[in-house]
């Protein structure tokens, strides 16, 4: 299957700042791609380049088998949902949604039918005659979505679409976005800095930092087996443990760490400095048994109650560790904890 969008070695700078550094990316048809990264990571620049609002300094963008690198937004098969929705305040909701069809000279009867369909799709079937300023934030978001979807783009670009909504509404819109995407079968590209949003929505998660793609793949894989140290700490939390490769034994890598000598099943490098990443939820309370890896005994420095669990920072070990304990665990700062983990949960990072 050929990709809907192909980004080939795209670089872009603003003055002296490198916004994108040779980024390549393929977006599959009918997939939900999330560009995840902190501010300044280049994710919004990449979206602007996909939408045609920016022409990259280097590289090419192919959409639907056509070179669109220098094509203006009006002439590419993309549509953008802007962060502040950018609805036309002087038009009714119906007028807003119909705008793209008017520009494409769609006949009035068909136009009205498609506007009504699009508004129904986003759950606002009776809003056509209302004005944008009469709507709530969530409703404006839906109108913006309908306005972009009605022109049947090959790719829908969403620039932090849920950023302006409160948390509850955000989670609700998130589910709806996913449902709508699956119903219309259009490829969605969604920019966010919220990793929970990314994991909930993405078929394909692209983690960006400093203008480069750090990691990409299904969110489960990116979360469980992050490719880089940045991904391990940005997509959820991790404790990073520095180490040196000492050798190999039976297809396992032997690594010297401040916590002692560990053996990890991986095709690691033959030598040099590496990092082990360990998720807080994989740190177990109690002494190691079987093939468990002892992490030592330390003192609880901080306990943060998070509802479904307690987030605990343990000091006094060779490396300060993050761990999760059950919400009902009576742990308090100053308590001593003995911790271990399973070797399969340690991720070997070389980048």
């Amino acid at each position: 299957m050929t990709a809907t969008v192909e980004v080939r070695a795209v670089s872009h700078r603003f003055g002296d700042t490198v916004a994108l550094d040779s980024v390549s990316l393929a977006i599959e048809p009918a997939s939900y791609t999330v560009l995840l990264g902190p501010s300044g990571s280049g994710k919004t620049t990449l979206l602007s380049i996909l939408g045609g609002f920016l022409v990259p300094d280097e590289g090419a963008v192919w959409i639907d088998g056509r070179d669109c690198t220098t094509l203006p937004p009006a002439r590419r098969p993309t549509a953008t949902v802007f962060q502040d929705y950018a609805l036309f305040p002087h038009m009714s909701v119906g007028g807003n949604v119909a705008f793209g069809l008017r520009m494409r000279r769609v006949a009035r009867g068909q136009r009205e039918r498609r506007v009504q369909e699009a508004l129904g799709l986003v759950g606002l079937p009776d809003a056509a005659s209302r004005r944008p300023h009469e709507l709530s934030g969530g409703q404006r978001q839906r109108v913006a979505l309908a306005r972009s979807l009605v022109v049947e783009p090959a790719v829908l670009l969403l620039d932090e679409p849920l950023g302006a909504l409160d948390l509850k509404l955000r989670r609700q819109m998130q589910d709806e976005l996913k449902a709508i995407q699956q119903r219309v079968g259009t490829a969605f590209v969604h920019v966010t800095h919220d990793q929970e949003e990314a994991m909930a929505l993405a078929d394909h998660c692209v983690v960006m930092n400093h203008g480069r793609i750090e990691d990409q793949g299904p969110p489960e894989r990116v979360y469980l087996r992050p490719a880089t140290r940045f991904t391990a700490t940005f997509m959820g939390e991790s404790t990073l443990i520095p180490g040196t490769v000492a050798g190999h034994r039976d297809g396992r890598v032997v690594i010297d760490t401040p916590l002692g000598r560990l053996e990890i099943a991986a095709d690691g490098p033959s030598g040099g400095e590496v990092t082990l990443a360990l998720r807080p939820e994989h740190v177990r309370n109690g002494p190691a048994d079987g093939d468990g890896v002892p992490l030592g005994t330390g003192v609880v420095a901080e306990v943060v109650f998070q509802g479904s669990f307690k987030r605990v920072t343990v000091q006094g070990l060779a490396v300060p560790l993050l761990a999760r304990l059950p919400a009902e665990h009576p742990v308090r700062p100053g308590d001593r904890l003995t911790l271990h983990c399973e070797p399969r949960h340690m991720v070997l990072l070389t980048l």
Binding site: G51, G52, F53, P72, P73, A74, R75, T78, A79, T80, F82, D84, A86, L87, F88, P89, H90, F99, G100, M103, R104, H133, R147, S148, V151
Partner: protein, 261 residues
Amino acid sequence: MAHRLPRVVGALYAALIYGFIFLPVVVLVLFSLQATTLPVPPFTGPSLRWYDAVLSDRRLTAALGNSLLVALLSSALAVVLGFLAAWGLARFRPPGSGLWRALLTLPLMVSYLIIGMGLLILLNQLGAPRSRVSAGIGHVVINLPLCFAILYSQMGEQQARAEQAARDLGAAEWQVLLLITAPMLWPALFASFFLSVTFSWDEFIIAFLLTRFDTTLPVEIWNLLRAGLNPRTNAVGALVFLVSAVLVASIELVVLRRRRS
């Protein structure tokens, strides 16, 4: 008792200020309703005979027509040019856009006399006749900076993003201007047009220097005044004031309505 004094003084002060500003207009309007031939006390009206005289005076009605024509057309041109300049400088930020902006607003600081003289000399050099057209050009020169300044200040980020969205949805540049930018700026366009009309309507110096036979109303009033005081001048002055007041009131109405919404 003591706390009342500042209020009384304040009210007195306000009465003096407003009296200073509006008393001449009140006197002008009052004696335009004079029944006898001299616009001096005692007041003998009210009578509409002088209004009748004004409206049956061919020279004055012709001047009124010229004034309207010059005001409406020059203002329309000033708004269109100001709008395009504001849009271009706000959206595309050409190199040296700060300098362009300064040059465009500079005529606001130049006196009408200088602008009128300059145009007069230029027209003489070109051998062009003095006419309503040349007066209209003069009024575009004085009103364009105003229209530009008002419209440029209204070119906000919100419009810019709506324009982006329109382009994204397939609109060509002229469609963006016509369907998004202009309608979103409608109150500012309206205000700058009517403000221009107001300024052009009672502008004297430029019209005096640049017209010859088809003069505008302020020039014609000046002609009347040279013949001495007469309630007819009061009546025509009152008419000019009435039109200006209506224009200003309609601007206020539009701006206030927008604030409320």
